[in-house]
């Protein structure tokens, strides 16, 4: 069953988990549509795992409701146990059973729906073959690398043939190359199955890459929900900005509009930037490294250069505050030298918002 009609696959309503003044999750509303991937992005301790475990049925919320595919699985007088919820789970630490081989592990969900052992093993083997890891069938977890273990974990979840998949930081314990490969695999398999996914991660790059929508979680509350581009270009506050990628914050005075964009005064010089509208006044301006560049009307002093291969990040000291900006190729200036720079784009944040996020 892949969801009925137009009901969202997952619908969390005013979900609170834990008790007291500081519950782990408070008053959380979240929906996931059919075939949609939603990333849960937040630092450790923000409640990502708690949310996934509550949806899976491992934890019971203290209040609120959970609906999966139009059916309440947790509501007043209604509690569906984990095995009867239409979800597949991929665990952060793989959670492979040490006493079962890979094929036995993947056959496990088939066995639980009453399939005969031979048939279950055949289906499990076929699934492993599809994923290109058929040769691992006879191995136990102790004989598998981290990446292989998580592929088996993914296969086990897929064997559930569920309408909703929950991924709890599945790549957190893998090295960078494997992480990319497994990310691609997760996206492709989930897409093949046509199911929805909730994907928890603390890695902004991963969240922006895999998701249709990103949910920023802080202290058990949703800070922002939006498309990956929204989240990156228009963070609600400085905390959200820093969580979703590198960002500098400078002080600007908006003086008016011009046909090409917003006119503002930065460190004593007038500039016009695109993609912003605001009433005149003083603002905190968020600057992503790719929104500014070396060479231009503004003055500053080079403080540091980080050569990263395809590009170089420079920290430039200006009268409006330090700005990190990005240029292609190797470093073009040395620390201590005066440099010219330009500002192409900013995202304005109200001063009050800035104050709130500095808590």
């Amino acid at each position: 069953m892949n969801g009925r009609g137009h009901d969202p696959v997952l619908d969390c309503r005013a979900l609170t988990v834990g008790y007291g003044a500081e519950p782990v999750l408070s008053d959380l509303d979240l929906t996931v549509a059919r075939a949609e991937t939603v990333a849960l992005l937040g630092p450790s301790g923000s409640g990502k795992t708690t949310l996934l475990y509550t949806i899976a049925g491992f934890l019971r919320p203290s209040s609120g409701e959970i609906w999966i595919a139009g059916t309440p699985v947790h509501a007043p007088g209604q509690e569906v146990p984990p095995e009867a919820r239409d979800v597949g789970v991929v665990f952060q630490h793989y959670a492979l059973w040490p006493h079962l081989s890979a094929v036995e592990t993947v056959a496990y969900p088939f066995r639980r729906i009453g399939m005969a052992e031979g048939e279950a093993r055949r289906r499990a083997q076929a699934l492993l073959e599809t994923m290109g890891i058929g040769e691992l069938a006879a191995r136990r977890p102790a004989e598998l690398s981290g990446g292989q273990q998580q592929r088996i974990g993914l296969a086990r979840a897929l064997a559930r043939n569920a309408g909703l998949y929950l991924f709890d930081e599945p790549t957190a314990h893998l090295d960078a190359a494997l992480r990319t490969a497994l990310q691609a695999e997760v996206v492709q398999r989930r897409g093949d199955a046509g199911a929805a996914a909730l994907y928890a991660t603390h890695d902004a790059g991963e969240a922006l890459a895999v998701a249709d929508r990103v949910v920023l979680l802080q202290g058990g509350r949703i800070v922002q929900i939006g498309s990956p581009a929204d989240i990156y270009e228009r963070p609600v506050d400085v905390w959200a900005a820093r969580l979703t990628g590198p960002a500098s914050v400078i002080e600007v005075d908006v003086t008016g509009t011009s046909p090409r964009g917003l006119r503002m005064r930065v460190a004593g010089d007038d500039v016009v930037v695109s993609d912003a509208t605001a009433a005149p006044g003083r603002y905190m301006a968020l600057v992503r490294p790719d929104w500014a560049a070396l060479g231009g009307p503004l003055a500053g002093r080079m403080m540091h250069a980080w050569y990263r291969g395809p590009h170089t990040d420079y920290r430039v000291q200006t009268a409006a505050g330090d700005v990190v900006l990005r240029g292609s190729g190797p470093p073009r200036a040395r620390p201590g030298e005066p440099v010219d720079w330009r500002l192409d784009r900013v995202h304005l944040i109200n001063v009050e918002d800035h104050g709130r996020s500095e808590r």
Partner: protein, 551 residues
């Protein structure tokens, strides 16, 4: 695994002494081991061999030995599965369900470890025996409490905490909550998850628990002595005790040797079997998931918690209350009401004789704990030597040797010179409890991150200063814990002291056993309460240490 590499790193930099002292440690350890364990076990086995098959057949041909062996074996065969099942159930309740008051429940399950079995037996008799507390109040007495029914029931209750500890350890190290959650998320019901994931993962722990409970049960002495002997239900250990204490003919001594040797053989076979089944090694395959949390969704599980509290009340609470009431009552058979209360039993209990016994018990316990710790530390320091490792394994195996057999062996080896001295009992205690000191210290040395002593060395501390300023402070809780544990066990030890005591070396436990056998129930109860207070006085700091470490 990395842990061995790590600990050997600690060893190399910290424990290695200079060349002159290189052989002093191993020689001292070897000498101690030969004196305390080697000579007695050699004497026992040569006495056994001297009898030959004819002697063995002859000993078993006599009614007593065969019946006692049969009783011991069937008792253990019943107690082992029952205690494992109950211990596993208790572990699942405290570790895997959302019980209210998890910590006090854990404590309550473990607390009975600190009640000496013979005191427990006596309090059961006070509670559930004829004209016991429950009989007085409700007119119900447990039929056959003096006999196989009472012996088996109490042996099960005594073994439950052992099984519980091992299963809890197995749950923590192998069966992480996420593995069960993965099963639930794969479509398994709670019971299916238990059957297909938890239970298979617990197999090594269950096998180890089975071996331990089996060995403990065939070695049990206090319970069959107090609940079995009055009803004529004799086991191997009580048979040995009777033959040594009350018979003087050579035939009964032959029987003692044969029974002691067969106890050792059965124990070693059990240990070997458990080893083959992998219970004693078993690769720990932690996946590293965060521990804790409830594997299954659940509102507060009041029903299992209530069941566990009720179990603790019935098996421990009510009997202890009965014991205390008995100790306060003027005479057996009187109702335990305030009108009949008196402190005379305590006045009578605190006689010159029992004070001497108390002194003996304390002296023995302090000496045994201290020597076991020193020798344990010595063995730990020799872990780099292949020879030291062999000694460590031997010390651990000695712990499995039944107390009755060990006592007979020590008596054979040193009885000629040391009969009726505390030293004779101390030798047996050290042989038996050495493993505690060794295990406790070795485990915490292994758990020590090698970076800590390395950092001390890199900060300019010498080997001695590192030991003093970094290693010992970190080991202190483990050392204090091990000392207290041996102290507690030695204070309530009865099996060996009942066989080895003489007029001048009576311990408090032996005094209680003798008073009980003379039928002086009220005074015996008063003595038992005093012993219990003594044990608890040492057990409370022990539990606090464990509490702090687990929290």
């Amino acid at each position: 695994m990395s842990s061995t590499g790590r600990s050997s790193g600690v060893e190399r930099t910290i424990w290695t002494a200079g060349p002159p002292s290189r052989w002093i440690g191993p020689l001292a350890a070897a000498a101690a081991f030969v004196l305390v364990v080697g000579v007695p076990l050699y004497e026992l086995s040569s006495a056994g061999l001297a009898l030959g098959w004819a002697g063995v057949a002859d000993a078993f041909g006599r009614t007593g030995a065969a019946r006692a062996s049969f009783n011991t074996l069937w008792t253990a065969a019943v107690v082992t599965p029952a205690a494992i099942a109950a211990g596993t159930a208790a572990a699942m309740v405290t570790e895997r369900s959302a019980v209210p008051g998890r910590r006090p429940l854990r404590l309550v399950v473990l607390l009975s470890l600190f009640i000496p079995p013979f005191v427990a037996a006596q309090s059961w008799a006070s509670a559930y025996g004829p004209s016991g507390l429950v009989d007085d109040l409700l007119g119900v007495a447990l039929p056959g409490i003096y006999g196989p029914v009472g012996v088996v029931a109490l042996l099960i209750v005594d073994a439950v905490p052992l099984a519980y500890i091992i299963v809890v350890g197995g749950l923590a190290s192998r069966a992480e909550p996420d593995l069960e959650r993965a099963a639930r998320a794969s479509g398994a019901t709670a019971w299916q998850a238990f059957g297909t994931v938890t239970l298979p993962l617990l197999k090594p722990a269950l096998t180890a628990a089975g071996a331990l409970v089996f060995i403990t049960t065939i070695n049990a002495f206090g319970v069959p002595a107090i609940l079995g002997l009055p009803g004529g239900f004799v086991t191997v250990t009580t048979r040995i005790y009777r033959d040594l204490a009350f018979a003087a003919d050579p035939a009964s001594f032959t029987r003692v040797v044969v029974l002691a040797v067969s106890l050792v053989v059965v124990t070693l076979v059990t240990v070997g079997l458990a080893d083959v089944l992998g219970a004693l090694k078993g690769p720990a395959t932690r996946t590293g998931a965060p521990p804790g949390g409830d594997a299954t969704a659940g509102r507060r599980a009041w029903a299992p918690a209530a069941a566990l509290w009720a179990y603790a009340a019935i098996t421990g609470g009510v009997p202890l209350v009965a014991l205390i009431l008995t100790s306060l009552t003027r005479a057996v058979g009187l109702a335990p009401v305030p009108a009949n209360w008196t402190l005379e039993n305590y006045a009578e209990a605190v006689s010159a004789q029992s004070l001497e016994a108390l002194t003996n018990s304390l002296l023995l316990a302090v000496a045994a704990a201290t020597v076991a710790l020193l020798l344990g530390g010595l063995l730990t320091s020799l872990r780099r030597h292949r020879f030291g490792r062999a000694l460590g394994t031997s010390a651990t195996l000695t712990f499995a040797v039944p107390g009755s057999a060990l006592a007979v062996a020590v008596l054979l080896a040193y009885g000629r010179w040391l009969r009726d001295t505390l030293l004779l009992i101390l030798i047996a205690y050290v042989a038996k409890f050495w493993a505690f000191g060794h295990r406790a210290i070795a485990a915490s040395v292994e758990g020590l991150p090698p970076e800590l002593p390395h950092a001390a060395r890199a900060s300019g501390a010498g080997a001695g200063a590192t030991l003093r300023t970094v290693i010992l402070p970190l080991l202190r809780p483990a050392l204090v814990g091990a000392w207290l544990l041996v102290f507690v066990i030695a204070v309530h030890e009865l099996t060996m002291s009942a066989l080895l005591y003489g007029p001048g070396s009576r311990t408090l436990a032996v005094t209680i056993l003798n008073a009980q056998q003379l039928g002086d129930i009220t005074v015996t109860s008063a003595l038992a309460v005093l012993l219990l207070l003594l044990v608890l006085g040492a057990a409370v700091p022990l539990l606090l240490i464990g509490w702090r470490r687990s929290g």
